[in-house]
Amino acid sequence: MTSPEQLIRFDEVSKFYGEALGVNRVTLALEPGITSLVGPNGAGKSTLMNLMTGLLAPTRGTIRVLGNLTTDLERLHEVVGYCPQFDAFPRGLTGLDLIASFLAVRGHSRRDARDIAWRAIEKTGMTEAARRRIGSYSKGMRQRIKLALAMAHSPRAIVLDEPLNGLDPMARAEAIALFQSFAEDGMHVIISSHIMHEVDLIADRIVMMSGGYVVADGGIQSVRGEMEQDHPIRILVRCDQPRIVAAAAFSDGGAIEVQIHADGQGLIAATRDVNRFYALLHRAVLDRGVVIETVAPADDNAHAVYQYLMGTNGGHQL
């Protein structure tokens, strides 16, 4: 079991901006690994991130990050790095100056600060632009220099608000690999993203938010499993005899809906009993000689979960 010192815990946390609701009665316990915050604009994702990094104080409830209360700001900021959505930078500084200066503010000597800053810059692939003023950077470069700043002090938890925005495909792949390496090292990586297929790729768990409330949290599969009654799981099967599989699926595979592909080489079945359906496929192979090429869940992903919970894809990039 994960000890409290390794968790990010929200206990009945609410945040109101005057009369307006930011988040309400959030109770969560996040374990190390990659957690993705998902939800439409105004769902409360950034508020949750600002709360866990101490930039906002909760109206009610308490937040502990790796055992540190978020009201204990100095301790909190030793262990947390934050790459916020804000796209402004202090004027007149180069990327290297920015990171080295804030490392010096953290107490590093000037020389150490520049060495550590350079290592972070190398990790984010910004070495060529590091000595240029940030004012001349592209959106993607600014994202990467923010990421370098957030990770430069080797935090144990890193919070990233839309970190993939503005990155080209190569830089995205490198950033994702970096996040995965953080998670492999036992860090917390909290990411908000609108890009659902990337959420699928990288997230160990999701926290889905809507209107300031957490509407679901956990592994994508487990969240999807909880929705089985209202939204039967759809399974894609590519095989040579889809009609035989379809008939069996209705008779003893627990299927409630089957669509045979137009090319006659596969089907999609909707079922509330996945195990029973998989057992049926076994029998179809063994008893009826069906040759199966592919079996895969068709809506066992963040996008589908999001659509079912929100009733929309929210205009998100999918």
Binding site: L55, L73, H77, A88, S101, A104, V105, R106
Partner: protein
């Protein structure tokens, strides 16, 4: 972590940002103007007043009561509020630095910048005296001391204003009015102005006008430490206030 080291790092970063920013061009012009005025006065043929007296008038009326006041208003009220408006305050608030220390570092950097700038202006304009006979070098030291005290005190006041008020212009104008006309007020109220403590330190104070209410001037032994302690307390209050600051850029 050593607070001194952190304050130094913050102050150095801030000073770097001052040098890079173009928005202070107005402050540079305010500081440069007396140099020009005094040079013109010094070389003007048929000058009647002694040069020390001309210098004292320009220093008190323009530099001390207007240029330093306005410049401190612009620079110090920007320390926190300006960063909120530019959406850059979070860079500091995400470091493990006590907010009082952040406030102290930013205040000291602004003090170094304004006192340095107006110190240079004072030195440069003082050289205009050398166009006239008999300047007293001891006067320059006194003027420089007054520049530092004025920047420290007005700076502290505007630092607090920048923390508690969204727009420093209105409180700044009220304060300018108070400082300008406080000599017309009863003695007890005069004691609530910074000018009351700075004016007696001037080597050659100017006439205060026919409507001024004359009061006992505080001695330098009282006013100098008094102003420094007042500045320290005001900056401490500003530091305490920013402990509760939240980053809600949209709301500012």
């Amino acid at each position: 972590m050593s607070p001194v080291r952190q304050i130094t790092a913050i102050a150095l970063l801030e000073l770097r940002r001052y040098l890079a920013a173009r928005r202070w061009i107005g402050v540079y012009l305010l500081a440069a103007l007396p140099v020009l005025l005094l040079l013109l006065a010094a070389v003007r043929p048929g000058r009647s007043a002694p040069m020390e007296r001309v210098y004292a008038g320009v220093f008190e009326v323009y530099t001390l009561r207007f240029a330093i006041f306005v410049s401190c208003g612009v620079v110090f009220s920007h320390l926190i509020r300006g960063e909120m408006m530019e959406k850059t305050l979070h860079f500091y608030l995400l470091t493990p630095v006590r907010r009082e220390i952040l406030m102290a570092g930013k205040y000291l950097a602004a003090l170094a910048a304004t006192a340095g700038l107006f110190g240079l202006s004072t030195i440069a304009s003082y050289f205009a005296l050398y166009f006239a006979p008999g300047p007293d070098p001891g006067l320059l030291i006194r003027y420089l001391g007054i520049v530092i005290l004025a920047c420290a005190t007005y700076g502290a006041v505007f630092t607090l204003i920048g923390v508690v008020s969204r727009n420093a212009a209105l409180p700044g104008l009220i304060l300018l009015g108070w400082e300008t006309f406080s000599s017309l007020l009863p003695g007890t109220l005069q004691q609530l102005s910074v000018t009351h403590y700075l004016q007696p330190l001037l080597p050659l104070p100017t006439e205060r006008g026919p409507f001024a209410i004359v009061t006992d001037a505080p001695s330098p032994a009282w006013s100098i430490p008094g102003l420094l302690v007042f500045s320290l307390l005001v900056v401490a209050v500003a530091g305490w206030r920013i402990r509760r600051i939240e980053i809600r850029y949209g709301a500012d």
